[in-house]
């Protein structure tokens, strides 16, 4: 085992993966609709997407529990398609944990070692090490039904980890936990991944979870990967409207480029706003989607260079949460804007009182412009 991520070569590649299911009405539903994905050694890759977008299906296909209709999987260059699940060096933490109810915690954890014929002494050691790693050292003799949800989840995790898989597949393993335990487990999981140096593929539909834990995020929708990028890229430079809307809070406006001059764009949006933005590769007349994160709109000017553009809107709701003010505003032509302001939070001078028409400042370099319908 090795820590860190010294190697960036691909462990697993998925290419052209298609999996369809027949619906009761007789039509076909493409749960996976042409997935291309290369998973790097030792990375923490998250599959993020709304319910029903194909995350579990992709994970099951990788694990070998489900077959592809077309496309291929390769593990370190060797095709994997004819390798049955039990011979793939991957282990899964199932969303429902799937602990064996007739086996004790110890025997659940030792299951993979038992079927692999590991010597009893080594099996005992690895089971004990694994259990104590997640703080369940004393609970080995319990039956799964006698554990809390969080404890069961750890057992499921260790049961997969003790086998030293090349890939650990985690299907929303934290979704059943309460908020506090969940936050704690997020940190523990990330630390654990660093310690054991195993590649993690982690499924979630919680964008915050994805942002905090991942090395890279694959945002999925309707059986396709919308964007594969680091959390920072995903948040600040989403590939399209879907990613921008799914990850983080956003003001998303459709529009058209009306002037383009060496990377400086002028965009007219729906609702009659004119926005100044930066962005290369666009020409006058291009249909675009514009993303303005709420935190990049502020009450006080953020002067950058010689331009300090503003948007005018009426405050409809303002919530003071200490370090910042959450404002919902509406332009005179009825466009809703979300603002997360930090500049006026300390002033308390009534600038953001409900009903007032205010100017929101923004920095053109923070306006993210995407081609309409664009994919990576």
């Amino acid at each position: 085992m090795s820590g860190g991520s010294e190697s960036t070569e691909d462990v697993l590649t998925v290419s052209g993966a298609v999996r369809q299911f027949q619906t009761p009405e007789g039509t076909w539903l493409r749960a996976l609709d042409g997935i291309d994905l290369a998973i790097r050694n030792n990375e923490f890759l998250t599959l993020l997407g709304p319910s029903g977008c194909g995350k579990t299906t992709l994970l099951r296909v990788i694990a070998g529990l489900d077959d592809l209709d077309s496309g291929t999987l390769t593990l370190e260059g060797r095709p994997l398609d004819d390798v049955p699940a039990h011979r793939r060096p991957f282990n899964t933490v199932f969303q429902s944990y799937a602990l064996f109810p007739h086996l004790s915690v110890e025997d659940n954890v030792g299951y993979g070692l038992d079927v692999a014929g590991i010597r009893p002494s080594e099996r005992r050691r690895r089971v004990a090490d694994g259990l104590s790693m997640v703080g369940l050292g004393d609970l080995g003799r319990r039956m799964p039904q006698q554990l809390s949800g969080g404890q069961q989840q750890r057992v499921a995790l260790v049961r997969a980890l003790v086998n030293n898989p090349k890939l650990l597949l985690l299907d929303e393993p934290l979704s059943a936990l309460d908020r506090k335990l969940r936050g704690q487990m997020q940190i523990e999981l990330k630390a654990l991944q660093h310690k054991v140096g195993i590649t993690f593929i982690f499924v979630t539909h919680d964008q915050e979870e994805a942002l905090t834990m991942s090395d890279r995020i694959a945002v999925m929708n309707k059986g396709r990967i919308q964007q594969l990028a680091t959390p920072f890229e995903t948040y600040h430079h989403p590939a399209n409207r879907f990613v921008a809307g799914f990850v983080g809070n956003s003001n998303l406006l459709g529009g058209r480029v009306v002037a383009a001059d060496r990377g400086d764009l002028k965009i007219e949006t729906e609702g009659g706003l004119t926005l100044i933005a930066g962005g290369a590769g666009f020409a006058v007349g291009d249909a675009v989607d514009v993303l303005l994160r709420p935190e990049f709109l502020s009450l006080a000017p953020v002067v950058v260079g010689d331009v300090a553009p503003t948007l005018e809107a009426q405050v409809e709701q303002a919530v003071f949460v200490g370090s910042e003010i959450h404002i919902h505003a509406r332009t005179d032509r009825g466009l809703a804007l979300m603002v997360l302001d930090r500049t006026a939070a300390g002033r308390g001078d009534g600038t953001a009182d409900v009903g007032r028409v205010v100017r929101f400042h923004y920095d053109p370099s923070h306006v993210h412009v995407m081609r309409t319908g664009g994919t990576p």
């Binding site: 694990a63 070998g64 529990l65 049955p84 699940a85 039990h86 011979r87 991957f90 282990n91 899964t92 199932f94 429902s96 799937a98 602990l99 064996f100 109810p101 007739h102 086996l103 004790s104 025997d107 030792g110 299951y111 993979g112 038992d114 079927v115 692999a116 009893p120 049961r159 997969a160 086998n163």
Partner: protein, 304 residues
């Protein structure tokens, strides 16, 4: 006592209260006749049926070889009939298990209407009279029956096979009659088996055979045990099937008892056979359940 303790106590009493009707029913309908049988088995048979009221352990001697006296002689034929019956009953259990186990998996994979239809079909035989159903088998299995005609037409045999009035016919009949009793508990336990557990086992590297031994078998074992017991007991005591399909050649302990009660009119001897059969069934079932429970513990333990 705290309020909670009082409430718990009251619940417990209410629980016992609910058991009263069934206890009375079973007590009168089961225990009293059983007591009569026990007493009868130790009485001397009267010359023209009936009993004379004196202690007479020799009914058992006639079967077991000891004690002997009172004009009774040990005849090993009774033991041999008993062991033959046990063998037939065990074969019945094994065959029904073999038929029902895969079928239970097959049905549990079905959906909605088809599944309910199959479950209905399994219980369908109960709607028809048992005698008629067994008589139908007589027609099927006799030398000029459907079975032999079909084989002859297919050119597989020249002379009709003598199946009827053999142990094979009795076995076929017993399996036919008792298969639903095996299927239903087995199906219930297979249905309860979560497929995700099988996938988890595969995912952890277990071959199909290992998955079967370590996950599927232990988790469906309760159904196997229940099914085996409720098939074994009526199979051992059955007398209609051997009477109709076994003819004069195959006699099971059920027939023997029936014969003693109804034909020989030797109630004490019939009661003695019945007592011995019952005792052995109890013993066998207890041993079986104990053994399975131990096995279950082992599969739950290290390196099963």
């Amino acid at each position: 006592m705290t309020a909670a303790a009082v409430r718990r106590r009251r619940n417990l009493l209410a629980g016992y209260g609910l058991l009263v009707p069934i206890t009375v029913l079973l007590g009168t309908l089961f225990l009293v006749p059983l007591g009569i049988m026990v007493v009868y088995s130790f009485l001397e048979p009267g010359v023209y049926g009936g009993v004379s009221w004196s202690f007479y352990p020799y009914n058992y001697g006639r079967i077991l070889g000891w004690p002997i006296g009172g004009g009774e002689e040990f005849d090993p034929v009774y033991l041999s009939i008993f062991f033959h019956s046990v063998l037939l009953a065990l074969l019945t259990v094994a065959l029904s298990l073999l038929i029902c186990y895969p079928a239970a998996f097959w049905v549990s994979r079905m959906t909605g209407l088809r599944k309910n239809l199959i479950l209905f079909l399994v219980t369908l035989p109960f709607f028809a009279n048992l005698l008629i159903r067994i008589y139908a088998w007589l027609l099927i299995l006799r030398p000029t029956g459907f079975f032999n005609v079909a084989l002859q037409t297919a050119g597989l045999i020249v002379e009709p096979l003598q199946v009827i009035f053999t142990g094979t016919a009795v076995l076929i009949g017993l399996v036919y009659v008792l298969v639903p009793f095996m299927f239903l508990p087995l199906y219930a336990s297979v249905e309860r088996l979560d497929p995700i557990l099988i996938q988890a086992s595969q995912d952890l590297g277990a071959t199909p055979l290992q998955t079967f031994r370590r996950v599927v078998l232990p988790l469906t074992l309760p159904g196997i045990v229940a099914g085996s017991i409720i098939v074994f007991i009526p199979a051992l005591g059955n007398f209609i099937v051997p009477a109709l399909l076994g003819g004069a050649k195959v006699m099971m302990s059920g027939n023997l008892i029936e014969q003693q009660f109804l034909k020989a009119r030797n109630w004490p001897f019939g009661a003695a056979i019945a007592m011995l059969v019952m005792a052995s069934v109890l013993l066998l079932v207890v041993v079986y359940v104990k053994k399975v429970a131990r096995r279950d513990e082992q599969t739950g333990g290290v390196g099963a």
